[in-house]
């Protein structure tokens, strides 16, 4: 089993009851491997990855390039099948968000959200009110009639979030969702995401390159090695309410994560 051991977990950041063991598992990966064939070579993207995400938990996955983060999310989303091992989403509905908003450019913001409702069979009569409620949740109440290209990058990403919420997902899979945004916008969206997840008790699996982001948002941070992707470390952070990205606490965790990642990257530099 891969569990964080005391040596690598920053003592300052570990609090009692950081991960309540009583909560049910939302996503379970057991010895998941995924290999891709590219011509003659076989690329092992994920190697024997086991991890569990509990209900209502915010888990960040961090790793350098080639750690198979996107592969991992695709597997959990059911868009791809593992070569070996089991992926179990325990019957929970899964929503996926990408680095790009991936909104449909021919639809307005409101219609983009509505399409997700339509796809899961919400009758026409009820959709309007739900679209309004979802856009309001991401603070875009007045923007239903705007087309994606008329919105800023941060706003588009919030429409994408509203669309993911419209899928009525219990588990939100996020693939570097704020990676293309400027720091100020990202900072504000962290607050928004945190609020929305708490309000709706969402389980989140959040992939990022950004150690500060992981330290800011995660209840738990999982480090993956690169080529092949393996779980090499796990940090549990206290859920001490709202953390600021510029707080010493986040900085300290971020520094530790950076060190560990550099060590891992160094292995490939020899």
């Amino acid at each position: 089993m891969r569990v964080s051991d005391e040596q690598v977990t920053p003592p300052a950041a570990v609090g009692p009851g950081a991960s309540a063991p009583s909560r049910a598992d939302a996503v379970r990966l057991t010895d998941v491997s995924k290999a891709y064939r590219t011509g003659r070579a076989e690329l092992l993207a994920l190697d024997q990855v086991s991890l569990t995400v509990h209900d209502g938990e915010f888990v960040c996955i961090i790793g350098a390039s080639g750690c198979g983060k996107s592969t991992l999310l695709n597997l959990v989303a059911g868009l791809d099948q593992p070569t070996s091992g089991q992926v179990d989403t325990t019957g929970r509905k899964v929503g996926l968000m990408f680095q790009e908003p991936a909104l449909f450019p021919w639809l307005t913001a409101g219609r983009n959200v509505e399409l997700a409702l339509q796809a899961r069979g919400v009758p026409r009569a009820g959709r309007r009110a739900q679209v309004a409620e979802l856009l309001d949740a991401v603070r875009l109440a007045g923007f239903a009639d705007k087309r994606p290209h008329e919105l800023s990058g941060g706003m588009r990403q919030r429409v994408a979030l509203a669309r993911a919420l419209a899928q009525n997902a219990d588990v939100l899979l996020m693939d570097e969702p704020f990676g293309a945004l400027d720091a100020m916008t990202r900072d504000l969206l962290h607050d928004e995401l945190e609020r929305i997840c708490t309000e709706r008790t969402l389980t989140v699996l959040f992939v990022t390159h950004n150690v500060r982001e992981a330290a800011r948002l995660g209840d738990r941070v999982i480090l993956l090695s690169s080529r092949p992707g393996r779980v090499i470390d796990e940090y549990t952070l206290p859920r001490a309410g709202h953390r600021r990205i510029d707080s010493p606490e986040v900085s300290e965790v971020a520094a530790r994560l950076t060190d560990r990642l550099r060590e891992e990257m160094g292995r490939h530099g020899i």
Binding site: F104, P105, R139, R147
Partner: protein, 288 residues
């Protein structure tokens, strides 16, 4: 919370300030900016045309703008020209609409079903590159010298472009949008209706536009080639004028063909621009 107010402020800062009503003179200036290069080009053509005429080159065949335009004006006074234009346009529209339906159905089937693609994908491309008038002799044998033969040639000219436009559109649906569509549970018919077909629209419209150009030139070739007894068409009029050595009328008919081509092309271009504007595919600076 302070952060949500900051977010709202950021949203307002990032939005493009809305443009107020254009000042009154602006529309006229814009129209002029669009019109003058075209007027200048027409004037230039007329001047060169007149100069060539004055040089006396092939003067029995090649008529100057004066005689040609007055011939055109004269023909426009008579119902005959309009009836001819009407008949030819009718053939064009019927042929194009059938090509639209046939091309779209074949395009969709080819894009969707791999064995169909393997079987006829290459044939469609081959047909597209072939001048469809080569089918005219075949069409005459099949249908006789009547309008069905002409429509057959037009449909074979236009349908491959329309089918290919749709196939390209389906092929170039962005994979990211497909992933997004599949995660939200779109599949089967709903996936096509809500994602793949709308995403294909730009390539499809390009195919429709090219299909029209092919339909129009196939129609002219077919009308020149296939004479229907008792029926006048622009192609047959050209043929008759040539036999009668009425070269002013030949030139006048060519001008009619050009004008029709330009008008229809403008309609397609307008539709294309409107679609691209809605999707944010136009550079706002260039579009204004």
């Amino acid at each position: 919370m302070a952060s949500d107010q900051a977010l709202r402020g950021l949203d307002n800062l990032e939005l493009r300030p809305s443009q107020g009503n254009p000042e009154p003179g602006r529309l006229a200036r814009k129209a002029w900016a669009i019109a003058w290069p075209k007027l200048a080009a027409i004037a230039l053509v007329l001047v060169i045309w007149e100069l060539v005429t004055l040089s006396g080159w092939k003067k029995y065949v090649f008529k100057g703008p004066g005689p040609v335009l007055s011939n055109l004006w004269e023909q426009m006074q008579h119902g005959m020209l309009w009836a001819t234009i009407g008949w030819t346009l009718r053939s064009a529209v019927i042929g194009y609409v059938v090509a639209l339906i046939v091309g779209s159905v074949i395009g969709l089937l080819t894009a969707r079903i791999p064995p169909v693609r393997a079987a006829i994908g290459a044939i469609i491309t081959a047909l597209q590159t072939m001048p469809s008038v080569v089918w005219a002799p075949f069409a005459i044998v099949l249908f006789g010298e009547n309008n069905s033969a002409i429509l057959f040639v037009v449909i074979l000219g236009a349908a491959p472009s329309i089918a290919n436009g749709l196939i390209n559109g389906v092929d170039y649906t962005p994979p990211l949008l497909l992933r997004a569509g599949k995660t939200m549970g779109l599949h089967g018919f709903a996936l096509y209706r809500n994602l793949i077909l709308p995403a294909s629209l730009p390539a499809y419209v390009a195919g429709l536009k090219q299909g029209w150009a092919f339909a129009w030139r196939s129609l002219m070739a077919a009308e020149l080639f296939i004479a229907i007894i008792g029926q006048v068409s622009l192609g047959q009029q050209l043929d008759a004028d040539q036999s009668n050595l009425d070269f002013a009328s030949v030139s006048a008919i060519i001008i009619v063909l050009l004008v029709i081509g330009i008008v229809v092309d403008t309609l397609f271009t307008k539709a294309d621009l409107a679609m691209r504007r809605r999707r944010g595919l136009l550079d706002p600076a260039a579009a204004s």
